[in-house]
């Protein structure tokens, strides 16, 4: 059939799938018992999670004096991790909302798992400020509620309060967006499964979806509206995160470039994480025909673009520090490049600015192993970017007498490992319980790139009903 494919566009989904092939392929990992690879990955990730739980329990019981913070450096490892995880989430929303508005049809294979990644990353992110409060059982104090202390309300002029609202809204809307997208697929699973428990589970969650076209019409409207709402939302979230720093007067923090710089960096790091996860998932779960080289290449191109923005931001920061004539600002950047933490700065530059340049070469973009390694490098680089911005700026501010150094304690490192454990554990559970690929959306793009008269081949895997083929049907 390959000679029938369009010369204009290559198909998004390979292997000439029929509609029911898509259903069966995506549902397959949910039916069979998890393989050895999955159990090994789960053992590693849940061990990391338990290490993190132990570390968090210890630091909550003892106090955050267990961290390496001092009078000079009040924000370091913990806030770095928070900004890192929030940034990871941004790629999911970009894929699900912004690429949807731009009608980038290739997103259908990756949006479900990218959105899941967003939700898990925001959960990981949310944990850090709560631990940082020292008394996490009072975390509800950041919410304005009528209380017996006046009522004393939160300070709505504070970026930290904005942050709470931004992340709360971001988490809620991402979750709702994800769930709305899941409903038709859950109904598909409900209708095909033989197991009674699964039928109950998927039946409960699919809300009685029957595929009515009237509902589909409203569903499409709601999806478009949510995409339209999520697009400015995702920009606002990292903008507000950057204001946590930019509204203060620390040299190296107090700049107007922060909002776009942080948003570009967030998308950049998020796509690196999507690539890391997708490359593992397509190999382990055999989704090579759905998450094709074309997908990996497209994401590589987005990484080049956003990486370019990040590099431009680094240069602009340096230029402005030099051009401003402000000696504190200038020192902050000299200190970053050549001070005691210069190694962190140069890790950041080599991972975020130099390594993505390799993606200009098509040979690299289409080499899965290389792209995987580059995505890991970018993840590391973006973690260091936040460390450089947050920690190095604080170690040496205005008064040399108050300069200090910061080093993380084992407790802090264990907490970071624990957050990766939580993220990976949630993702592994997700691949077992919910369809990792948007079944309905993939079916909608199945005919893409095939000749228009040639619809997806109709025969499914299961035995067809009694009076299937009507003879004499004119096409």
């Amino acid at each position: 059939m390959s000679d029938h494919t369009s010369i204009l566009r290559s198909p998004l989904i390979l292997g000439n799938k029929s509609y029911s092939d898509v259903t069966e392929d995506v549902a397959l990992p949910l039916d069979r018992s998890p393989g050895k690879e999955w159990w090994m990955a789960f053992a590693v990730s849940s061990s990391m999670l338990f290490l993190g739980l132990a570390a968090v329990t210890y630091q909550v019981m003892t106090g955050i004096g267990t961290w390496g913070l001092n009078n000079t450096v009040g924000w370091a490892f913990d806030i770095t991790n928070f900004v890192f995880w929030i940034g990871i989430g941004h790629a999911g929303t970009l894929i699900s909302a912004i690429l949807f508005l731009f009608r980038q049809k290739w997103r259908t294979s990756v949006n479900r798992s990218a959105e899941a990644m967003t939700i898990f990353a925001v959960i990981c992110a949310g944990i850090f400020p709560i631990i940082h409060m020292g008394r996490p059982w009072l975390a509800f104090w950041v919410v304005p509620y009528p209380n017996l202390r006046g009522p004393l309300w939160v300070n709505f002029r504070s970026p930290l309060v904005w942050d709470m609202f931004a992340i709360g809204t971001y988490f809620t809307i991402s979750l709702v967006f994800w769930f709305v997208g899941l409903i038709p697929d859950l109904a598909t699973l409900r209708d095909r499964t033989a197991s009674n428990i699964k039928k109950k589970f998927y039946g409960l969650l699919s809300l009685g979806w029957d595929g009515s076209n009237r509902t589909w019409l409203r569903y499409e409207t709601v999806y478009l509206l949510l995409a339209g709402l999520a697009t400015p939302l995702v920009v606002s979230v990292h903008t507000i995160v950057s204001w946590d720093f930019a509204t203060s007067v620390i040299p190296g923090w107090h700049t107007t470039i922060f909002p776009p710089y942080f948003v570009a960096g967030a998308v950049f790091s998020g796509f690196a994480m999507v690539l890391t996860l997708m490359i593992i998932a397509r190999t382990v779960l055999h989704f090579e025909e759905y998450i094709t080289l074309h997908h990996i290449e497209s994401m590589g191109k987005i990484i080049i673009a956003t990486g370019g923005m990040v590099a431009l931001a680094y240069l602009t920061e340096l230029f402005v520090a030099m051009y401003s004539g402000n000696e504190y600002e200038r020192f902050a950047f000299i200190n970053r490049m050549f001070g005691p933490y210069a190694w962190a700065y140069w890790i950041m530059v080599s991972c975020n600015v130099l390594s993505p340049q390799l993606l200009w070469l098509k040979k690299v973009r289409t080499n899965v192993t290389l792209v995987f390694l580059l995505s890991l490098a970018i993840n590391v680089g973006m973690w260091f970017e936040r460390f450089v911005i947050i920690t190095i700026s604080l170690t040496r501010d205005y008064l040399p007498a108050s300069w200090d150094v910061y080093a993380p304690t084992l407790i802090e490192i264990a907490t970071l490992i624990g957050s990766f454990g939580l993220f990976l554990t949630l993702f592994l559970l997700f691949t077992r319980i919910l369809p990792m690929i948007a079944i309905g959306e993939v079916k909608g793009v199945l005919s893409y790139g095939r000749a228009s008269h040639e619809a997806p081949k109709a025969e499914g895997r299961y035995v067809s009903a009694a009076h299937e083929r009507v003879p004499g049907g004119v096409r």
Binding site: S18, Y19, S20, P144, G150, W153, N155, F156, R157, V161, W162, F165, A166, G168, T172, I173, V176, F177, P184, A187, T188, R190, D191, G203, L204, L207, G208, W209, D210, G211, S212, N213, W216, L217, R218, Y219, E220, T221, V222, L225, L226, L229, A230, L233, S236, W243, I439, G440, E441, K443, G444, S447, A455, A458, A465, R469, V470, G472, G473, R475
Partner: protein
């Protein structure tokens, strides 16, 4: 009072869109179509009007914006005014970010809530109707056999010309 439904199954999206147009032209009453994914153009073929949900979204968004802006001014300037760094009590520009977030939150939740309400989707609800493989790989068109003038053979032939793979009749108790 019950009504008789005529159900035609198709294997792909072009067929059901063409068949729906033909059925509409032949004067049949189209009850609904059931498809595994959103088929573009089918809503027009069925003569469905665009959804009014964008209005719900707008109203909830405006509601969220107004309520949150009022709340911030009320808490910061009236209910318990606190002088913070000499900033004005009702510092409207500083209230913009949270107002924006709550606008999005209200608009999003309101729209989805309204969608569930009008589409009668709720946890634990059983699908109102079930057509074989309609959530997998069949595109199902449902007509109402309105009166005695409904000609089963003629309608079947019409749909077969459009690539229909199976037809079926069902008796449905009207709600």
């Amino acid at each position: 009072m019950s009504r008789r439904l005529f159900i035609a199954y198709f294997k792909d999206e072009q067929d059901i869109v063409e068949a729906t147009k033909a059925a509409g032209a032949a004067g049949h009453e189209i009850l609904d179509a059931y498809t595994p994914y959103a088929v573009h153009g089918l809503d027009k073929a069925m003569g469905l009007k665009p959804s009014r949900l964008p209005w719900v979204c707008l109203i909830f968004g405006l509601l969220g914006a107004t309520a949150k802006l009022w709340f911030q001014v009320w808490t910061s300037a009236f209910n318990w005014p606190v002088n913070i760094g000499g900033k004005p009590l009702a510092s409207i520009p500083a209230f913009v970010p949270v107002t924006f977030e709550i606008t999005v939150l209200f608009a999003g939740l309101g729209t989805v809530g309204a969608f569930f309400l009008v589409s009668r989707l709720r946890p634990g609800r059983k699908p109102a109707v079930s057509y074989d493989r309609a959530t997998n790989d069949r595109f199902v068109l449902v007509l109402v056999e309105r009166d005695a003038s409904f000609d089963l053979q003629k309608t079947t032939d019409l749909f077969k010309r459009h690539g229909c793979v199976k037809v079926e009749e069902r008796l449905e108790a009207e709600e």
